[in-house]
Amino acid sequence: MLPEFSLRNKFGAAAAAVLSLWGVIEYYGFERDFHQHRDPYKIVAQFVRFEGLRAAVPGDAVLGYLSGEEPGSELAQAMFNAAQYNLAPRLLQKDKALDWTVGNFARPVDFAAVGRQYGLRVERDLGNGVILYRKEQRP
């Protein structure tokens, strides 16, 4: 003898399934629209920018870090975190000039002048706004 389910039961189960499918379609639509926000922090592009620096500095180095952006701004934060991610296992010390220091610039400035403010000289200009600075040796 097979017991039957009430109409209320059937309606509840069917409605839940249909509503869930609606949610799934909403999700797909959202991802499709979101697709235009490709790599908003340009992480993939940073791999190429920092390639030269990775080759020039040993993996266990602790490096200073300078940027031309306003400290605390979202751009400055994104640039620093992206640089740290790309240069790991090297450690970066933000807004600090150490013996070896990374300059990470989003727009053209006088890199040598920025370095001089911190007692640094340009060791290598690696292109795309990436500079390797070295501390000026005091006599």
Binding site: A16, A17, G23, V24, P89
Partner: protein, 458 residues
């Protein structure tokens, strides 16, 4: 592809462990649900335990990054031997009629395919995941895998990247990178997708075993129909969905009376995110109050995750919690400065924002609550399953009350993810209380022999 293969190897080890120590999990009925449960719990357990093993090996022998690999292969060999010796037992399936099972299976497959397609779109656009994925979790994975300085993953110099956060996700990604010998973006993508699969498999399989096939499939569909959760699972690559997986899994496994595995999941939650510490505390209190007889086994199961997390927090991690900043007086000041209503408003807003457009993931649950109603006999289980996410929510609320960060920023940057963590637990709690949509077939009773004889003679 090799990195993905190593992620799958962790799943294999986990499935082996669950089959060996899961107390007959494979013999549950229906068989497809048992298989989902073994896969789901095995994937989460395997990724978590191999991540711990990798972390410990990197600490013990930083010069041999593949030490854990050889240990894993040995463990896998032993598991294969142990499982092959086990006698196969299976409980015969009681004949039962369930509502719409083939239709719901079709709908679940369709929903799963659409969600996976949506996730591939997200991976294509942002293979590195969202901000925290590369700035915190995968950055720390890079420190764990590259060079001989894994301790840089919790260096006090990482001021922007929370060096005090636990390392399960970073360890899991670093493990795949180390064994594959490449820093491919496929490793974090595979890890986050496997946690999503694990969560889905445990919800569907667990509820199907516990409350019948129809409710199991509807639970899976209800989870897939939560767009914000799916977006976090696919696009973000954060630790919130893995944490959701461990929290929901621990609750599910207690309901299925697998306390050792439930404890293991609770411990792994603590090694996944700081929020997991709150979960372990709440889970253990709930067990002590509502399932006292299982407490010792749950506590024993939690040991691996809890011990590693405690060692990390006490001996390695650089900072203590910023929430206690300023001492009790400053904390009290923050509590009474009128932020209660601001937080309440943000909670209401974010709960509403779990949906997209006119759709909200609570709608399928409401349809079921109206159509099926709740079973009174399930009150105790329902109380257990619902208490945990409610207590977690209350805990999160309290954390915002004492938060030393700018409150608006703190709420906007984290509350939606906290709700994503808890949503699967709320789905489970709903399904635990619902009336079963499965009826055992009532066999027509055979007439007693004497009565039959009598009727013949008369």
């Amino acid at each position: 592809m090799i990195a993905v293969a190593w992620a799958l190897f962790a799943v294999l080890i986990g499935c082996g462990l669950v089959m060996r120590f899961g107390r007959g999990l494979t013999a549950l009925e229906p068989r497809w649900a048992a298989a989902l449960l073994v896969f789901g719990s095995g994937a989460a357990a395997g990724i978590g335990l191999t991540s711990i093993l990798f972390f410990l090996c990197r600490m013990a022998a930083p010069g041999i990054p593949r030490l854990g690999m050889f240990l894993e292969i040995t463990i896998f060999g032993w598991l294969v031997f142990e499982i092959s010796r086990q006698r196969k037992t299976s409980t015969p399936d009681a004949t039962a009629k369930a509502l719409f099972v083939p239709w719901l299976m079709g709908a679940a497959f369709l929903a799963f395919a659409i969600v996976t397609a949506g996730m591939t779109v997200a991976w294509d656009a942002n293979p590195q995941g969202n901000w925290d994925a590369w700035a915190i979790w995968n950055l720390r994975a890079r420190f764990l895998v590259e060079g001989n300085l894994p301790q840089r993953a919790w260096s006090a110099l990482l001021t922007e990247t929370h060096p005090e956060y636990p390392l399960l996700i970073s360890g899991a990604v670093a493990r795949c990178w180390a064994y594959a010998g490449s820093l491919t973006e496929a490793a974090p993508i595979a890890t986050s997708y496997l946690f999503f699969l694990s969560l889905l498999a445990m919800v569907t399989g667990g509820v199907a075993v516990y409350r019948g096939r129809t409710l199991g499939l509807l639970a899976g569909l209800a989870l897939l129909g939560a767009p914000t959760v799916m977006h976090e699972a696919g696009f973000a690559q954060y630790a919130d969905v893995p944490l959701a997986c461990y929290m929901m899994g621990a609750t599910m496994l207690i309901l299925l009376d697998r306390p050792l595995l439930a404890g293991l999941f609770a411990g792994l939650a603590m090694w996944t995110k700081d929020d997991g510490t709150q979960f372990v505390a709440i889970f253990l209190v709930a067990i002590a109050v509502l399932r006292r007889e299982r407490f010792a086994q749950v506590a024993m199961g939690a040991i691996p995750g809890v011990v590693v997390a405690l060692i990390f927090k006490i001996a390695l991690s650089p900072r203590t919690s910023m929430y206690l900043m300023g001492g009790p007086k400053a904390m009290l000041q923050r509590v009474v400065d009128g932020r209660f209503w601001q937080i309440s408003g943000a909670f209401a807003h974010e709960i509403g924002a779990l949906g997209f457009g006119w759709y909200h993931p609570i709608l399928p649950l409401l349809a079921l609550a109206i159509g099926l109603s709740f079973e009174r006999e399930r009150r105790r289980d329902w109380l257990f399953a619902a208490t945990i996410p409610c207590a977690m929510l209350a805990g999160y609320f309290s954390v915002f009350l004492i938060s030393p960060f700018p409150l608006k920023w703190h709420l906007e940057s984290s509350l939606n993810r906290l709700l994503v963590q808890l949503w699967p637990c709320f789905v489970l709690a709903t399904f635990v209380g619902l009336s079963r949509l499965e009826r055992t077939v009532i066999q027509a009773p055979a007439a007693p022999v004497k009565a039959r004889k009598k009727s013949r003679t008369s």
